[in-house]
Subunit: 391 residues, 2 copies
């Protein structure tokens, strides 16, 4: 074998492609709705016609069950009526507590025990029905068992239907750090079911809207204008308006992942985290009393005002966004938001460690475009916070 | 936004490419050897010229330190002499116990604590120096922290230099199941340093050789013939022969991952697991008393004899392989290998669950080629075991 005798290096490139669909519907578990059948058939398509065990375990967030107590019965009926040709045994449903405890390594252990108890193999599907934190934590467990079972995500909040629920990340907190451990695990399929939105508390209905402003301001000026116009309808809980918002926001989010060139975030820039450096810190210092979406709203306002001061953004658009938040009843101030240098410096450093490498802060540059700032002017940030608080 | 109003589905494809080098060398930590500097420069290349913190934590297996007590000092000197331009602070070295306890979720937790203690971010490199189990367990922790730090793998055994150490998988055992949890996490770089081979016990020197026969028999008839010719030299611990073996074996392994079309093993077929369905079971029933490579040798012999009986392989090649194993002192029988139907059936079922979906067993078909069997003839397996044991 002379050709291998004196090599000193092998270089290889490993290429991967993950393809998945996000479906929008209502009444996912009604027997007359083909969406779930179609989604599962797509996931199992490489195995249909073989005797391989094709199984689904649904893990349902307890608060969702409280609002929709008929889901387990409906899944059983749907499984019997529509999934007999796809599954080799009826769908399994387990309910799991949500809440604060959720984003913790112990949740991952509990869910792994559940997956093991049913002897699910890598070709089985874990259907995860719940909010963003629930999808993050259950998804992490599903991505670790046998190095990754297939995930069908059914996000149930505005925030998760717009944003994290359609994306590729899982994670739980550790050492007091948000999402300290996690994986990149593209789902096999996603179903955004709008019926879940009707039972959301007002705060949770609102909490997804700042993420829509986030992507609009840096990527889509038409969407930004649409959001301003739609604010009164959204404030009145107009579901058709919210459905349009979610579809647009999810599309932009997924397009970003698919076309940014860095879907698993190996670089330091992370444009979808616009407004998040301060938001993460506000969530931590308020010990979760402030919702993620509310914290993002404050982060967007501070960073937009900073961009105005830097000459990157017309002040008109900052005013428009703040006014829309006010129309919607999204708080534009909070007791934890103070012009404190230690707070700002700690927030910037934690965000830098979170992303890794050099600091990268995404700022709007004009409306619908962005820049990556690799240094931040702390006095100007403090000034922006003061101006925001003084109205 | 009329274009998003009535969509019912978004379909996107997410593409990824992981590029990495496997370097072959000796004296990795000698200041005159540029290999490590070159490997790290490659890992950090997208950041060079920026003020980003560029840090390395080496995690060293205790048994390797016992044989090479000067490694921490050498790394410190190498860091000072060659890495000052690449790293923003001197390389850190931590030693970690190997052994049975290693492939356990607690190891993952311990290593995460270590990574957190040093505040390593996603752009930091974890250099992992040890055998296959050590790389698997430390690699899993590194792949979870901040959703994945960069891994520099320095495998120290024949088995890991040939096979798992150059690949893309991490894992630890859970619920008594081998590699029950894990991730696909391509390394950023790999260094195969042949100096580590000199201190291996005879059994560990031998234990990597069956994996070479494995890939040769199903993928490379020239390599198979070379192995037969080299057996006496390998038995005499000829290092030049072993270096050729490792280079060829690592190349075939990496080529398979890069060109199979399924690097993250979403399908059920797994050709690199030829001979492994029985091997995994023998490892479990002997509670690890039999080495992985020894179990693989027995698995290869049984499956090759089965392939002979099925008319897939000339018996000559089975005889050649067994004779080579005898020359090398690799056991061709074991007390745990018995023609027991429950043992064989359990082994097949556990392997099916491990791979997921329908059963796929890779068998040689001719020399240097393979087929995927989707059913196995249990009486014929039992007969093959009997024939093997009767010589």
């Amino acid at each position: 074998m002379p050709e291998t005798k004196d090599i000193s290096k092998i270089s290889r490139e490993i290429k991967l492609a993950f393809k998945y669909d996000v479906r929008f519907t209502t009444g996912t578990f009604d027997a007359e709705n083909p969406t779930l059948e179609s989604a599962l058939a797509g996931v199992f398509s490489d195995e249909l016609g073989t005797p391989a065990p094709r199984r689904v375990l649904f893990v349902l967030e307890k608060t969702v069950l409280d609002h929709f107590p008929d889901i387990p019965g409906k899944i059983a009926a749907y499984s019997a009526e529509r999934l007999e040709a796809i599954l080799t045994e009826p769908a399994i449903v387990e309910t799991f507590e949500g809440g604060e405890r959720l984003k913790h390594p112990y949740t991952v252990k509990d869910i792994l025990e559940l997956i093991n108890q049913y002897n699910l193999d890598r070709h089985a599907v874990v259907g995860i029905i719940g909010g963003g934190a629930f999808l993050d934590a259950i998804g992490l467990a599903a991505s670790l068992a046998h190095r990754g079972l297939r995930q069908l995500r059914v996000p149930t909040t505005v925030l998760s239907q717009c944003d994290s629920g359609v994306g590729v990340k899982t994670g739980v907190n550790m050492f007091g750090k948000k999402n300290y451990i996690g994986t990149f695990a593209p789902p096999a399929a996603v179903i955004d079911d709008f019926d879940f939105l009707d039972t959301l508390e007002r705060r949770d209905w609102n909490a997804g809207i700042p993420e829509a402003f986030k992507v609009a301001m840096i990527k889509d000026s038409v969407f930004f204008q649409w959001l301003l116009d739609a604010a009164p309808k959204l404030a009145g809980r107009d579901r058709a308006a919210m459905e349009s918002l979610i579809k647009r926001c999810a599309t932009i989010h997924l397009d970003h992942i698919a076309t940014s060139g860095d879907p698993f975030e190996t670089g330091s820039a992370r444009p979808l985290d616009f407004g998040h450096w301060l938001a993460h810190k506000l969530e931590t210092v308020t010990a979760g009393k402030i919702r993620h979406g509310e914290a993002v709203a404050l982060g967007l306002l501070v960073d937009s005002l900073y961009a105005v001061e830097k000459g990157l953004l017309d002040k008109k658009h900052f005013d428009e966004m703040r006014s829309a938040f006010e129309t919607l009843g999204i708080p534009t101030d909070d007791g934890a938001l103070v012009p404190s240098r230690p707070l700002v410096e700690a927030a910037l450093e934690e965000f830098r460690e979170h992303l890794g490498g050099e600091i990268h802060i995404t700022l709007p540059s004009g409306l619908g475009d962005k820049i990556e700032a690799t240094s931040m002017d702390v006095p100007l940030i403090l000034d922006s916070i003061k101006r925001l608080k003084n109205g």
